[in-house]
């Protein structure tokens, strides 16, 4: 065995160019596999963050019927207790309570249906990044009376500008229609124009005054330190408090789940294709390398080396090459991912630039998960070793007399 090992080792270095090509193919494959998964992770993650941080957050609490009925009296009754619990929970990064209502918004020109989001300016700013969508004017905490933020699309539809006044009519707790006048102080624009057309933002205290004579909240939005804890938190909350429903982001937004899952399936198929391409690349190179060595192998057999040993020698060579390539590829890919993880991969060169105006960066930061490393390494090693089995078997069938004569 020792002898075989040293023969294999020498064989590898006797043909540096050939070994180099094999190494190159394996390194490229490993690098490609890790890059593809890291890029897609980064991609999906970034979209996810964009959508989550804007408004949705990781976990939301409502009255169990609020999301379907949307009635003002379906508020969270034990909000104080829940807020106190959230304050002391270590999993929670930040949280914000909201007051929601459906309304008819009117300008001198026309009327439209909207959802009012009454937010607590201070905690909302800490929890979500929505205030970054403001493209004109000032946020709700600028000190105006009854301020309201409109989406660009809606402002255009209503034909109002900053400083104008709009009137909103909605139901109060007693089921009567009540109205209030609000001053437009800011215009926002998100990535989705239908959203901009249907949502307005006011201060929860202003809206509260018109809807109820006590402080009420319909929604508590929670950001966690780690997304994976959303399930355990919703379970705890639902268990501990009656009369509420805590839901995680994927229950609240099936669309987001669609994007995340679709991204996952897409990567899977891209990975499969790239891995197949890699396998064929390695197989072809291995085949070529073995056929080139037929004469040499025939000679070895002619001088008395057993077929089993020839087979073992070839397999040993491929294992050594594959492992070396895998380690080198892993280091290169890891450095590459780390580097790009800091600087980001700018997509504007390949047509991503137009996203910038919607607040998405055209830069993707790859994120490699240890799972991806493991999967890729396993696939590459298996492919490379399997790819060398066929040529090695082929070598066993050689007739030394024929080969040496070539």
């Amino acid at each position: 065995m020792n002898m075989l090992l040293s023969i294999s080792w020498r064989n590898i270095w006797r043909h540096p160019a050939r070994s180099g090509v094999l190494l190159g193919a394996i390194i490229a494959g490993l690098w490609a596999g890790i890059m593809v998964s890291a890029l897609t992770n980064g991609w999906v993650q970034q979209r996810f963050d964009n959508l989550i941080q804007d408004e949705l957050t990781h976990v939301q609490i409502h009255h169990p019927d609020f999301l379907t009925e949307r009635e003002p009296w379906l508020f969270i009754e034990n909000a104080d207790e829940i807020l106190a619990f959230l304050e002391n929970d270590e999993r929670i990064l930040s949280y914000t309570p909201r007051l929601l209502s459906d309304a008819m918004i009117q300008s001198p020109l026309t009327a439209s249906g909207v959802q009012i989001r009454g937010v607590d300016t201070e905690s909302e700013k800490q929890t979500t990044t929505f205030h970054e969508n403001l493209i004109e004017g000032a946020y709700l905490d600028a000190g105006f009376r009854n301020p309201i933020l409109l989406g660009a699309q809606l402002a255009e539809k209503l034909n109002v500008e900053i400083g104008h006044r709009v009137v909103m009519s909605f139901q109060n707790l007693d089921n009567d229609i009540t109205s209030g006048a609000f001053n437009v102080t800011g215009i926002f624009q998100t990535a989705s124009s239908p959203y901009d057309e249907r949502h307005v933002f006011v201060r929860s205290e202003d809206l509260n005054e018109l809807i109820a004579n006590q402080t009420i909240y319909h929604e508590i939005a929670i950001m966690l330190f780690d997304e994976s804890m959303s399930d355990s938190l919703t379970m705890d909350l639902n268990h501990r408090f009656d009369g509420i429903a805590a839901e995680s982001w994927y229950e609240l937004s099936p669309e987001l789940r669609y994007i995340t899952d679709m991204g996952g399936s897409m990567t899977f198929y891209i990975m499969v294709i790239i891995m197949l391409a890699l396998a064929f690349g390695i197989l072809n190179t291995m085949l070529m390398a073995i056929f080139e060595r037929m004469r040499e192998l025939g000679m070895l057999m002619a001088v008395g080396m057993s077929k089993l040993r020839v087979f073992l020698m070839i397999m040993l060579e491929s294992v050594i090459l594959t492992l070396t390539g895998a380690i080198a590829g892993l280091i290169i890919a890891h450095l590459n991912v780390n580097y790009l993880g800091k600087t980001g991969l700018d997509l504007s060169g390949v047509g991503g630039e137009s996203m910038a105006e919607f607040g998405y960066d055209a830069i993707v930061y790859p994120v490699a998960v240890s799972n991806d490393y493991v999967t890729t390494i396993v696939i590459v090693i298996i492919t490379a070793v399997l790819a060398s089995v066929y040529p090695a078997i082929k070598a066993l069938r050689l007739n030394p007399a024929d080969v040496v004569r070539d």
């Binding site: 494959g29 790239i274 085949l287 993707v364």
Partner: protein, 408 residues
Amino acid sequence: MSIYLKLAWRNIWRNKRRTLITVSSIMFAVVFALFLESIERGAHDLMVENMTRFHTGFIRVQDFRYEDEPSLDNAFRYAHSFSEAIRVNDDQIDFSIPRIETFMLAAGAEQTRGAMVLGTDLEGEHKLNNLKDRLTEGRFFESGDGTAVMGEGLAGRLDLAVGDTVILLGQGRFGMTAAGMFEVAGLIKHPMRDMNNQLVYISLPDAQWLLSAENHITSLLVTPTHVSYTDAVAEEIRSGLDNDELRILTWPEMMPELLEALKFDRAGSRVMMGILYVVIGFGIFGTILTMTMERLREFGILLSVGMHRLKLALVVFIETIIISFLGVISGTVLGFFVVLYFYFNPIVLGEEMENMLQEWGMEAIMPAALAPDIFLWQGLVILIMTTVICFYPTIKIFTLNILDSART
């Protein structure tokens, strides 16, 4: 010249196994590149088609003022002759749907809610977005029978069931008061919670009567027979209409965010494509390099018996070019069948996706696109890549040391 060709041709078939391996490495490179691009394009086309049908429709004809002020005052006159007029050349137009869209208050016995009222042609809507399949209770209205179909969410909030009466209240054309009582004929479940809580469908004649908008509609949705005809059809309608107060909008104008999202995805797939090129490039380079080394002895002997380096390089270059062409052509043929298979037998996404997408009226599949330009471009890219790689043996011949190579 012909002697070089002949030499190259013979060299190729002298070692069939070697040629076969090289051709197959190029062939598989082409197949993988084709497959990746076709899958990616197919998924995007399907997404555009689904989103367009679900949200805005492909082409919309409306008054030029309506976009800025979506009020009934900016409806336009629509008669049957109008529909005929835009169908001058109807090979590319599938069907069109006249719609009146407005925001009103809907009231039950005690509750009142804002509602989005859609006066429309039921058959057309069904063809566009499978509306009839969303019915959960009751039946759909007949044209002009004074009944309404509403979202389950809205009905629940107004405490209305099939057979009850809903009151619609709002503003008609030019400030006319619009108020009407409609029997709830059926309920639908709209997959978007917002829409489910807001939608009321009535027939177009009912809506025109209710809103004092006889013979008027707010928009006409035109559906081409294929997404790719959108621009051509829009242009045709534009030139066919003599009414310059009408605007023709296409889906990229109506849903710019979808177009942007697609561009973003495209940019990402191009990076993936680049990574695939690196992998297949290495595969091809590996075989060509090994082939070159295998033949160094042969080259050395040829050179030492007096063959010009230039002539030898030419022969080898012709050989590799022929091999490249063989690889690309066979790859395109094989790739065509692979893509064809996945075009007719799309990849089915998991059960979880299926459950989710069913509600949206979409299929959880990922079909391959069958587009000639994909074949042309991918074939060309791989051919160029292979040609560049094929310079390696040529360069090697020019720098070969005869004595060293004869000794190996």
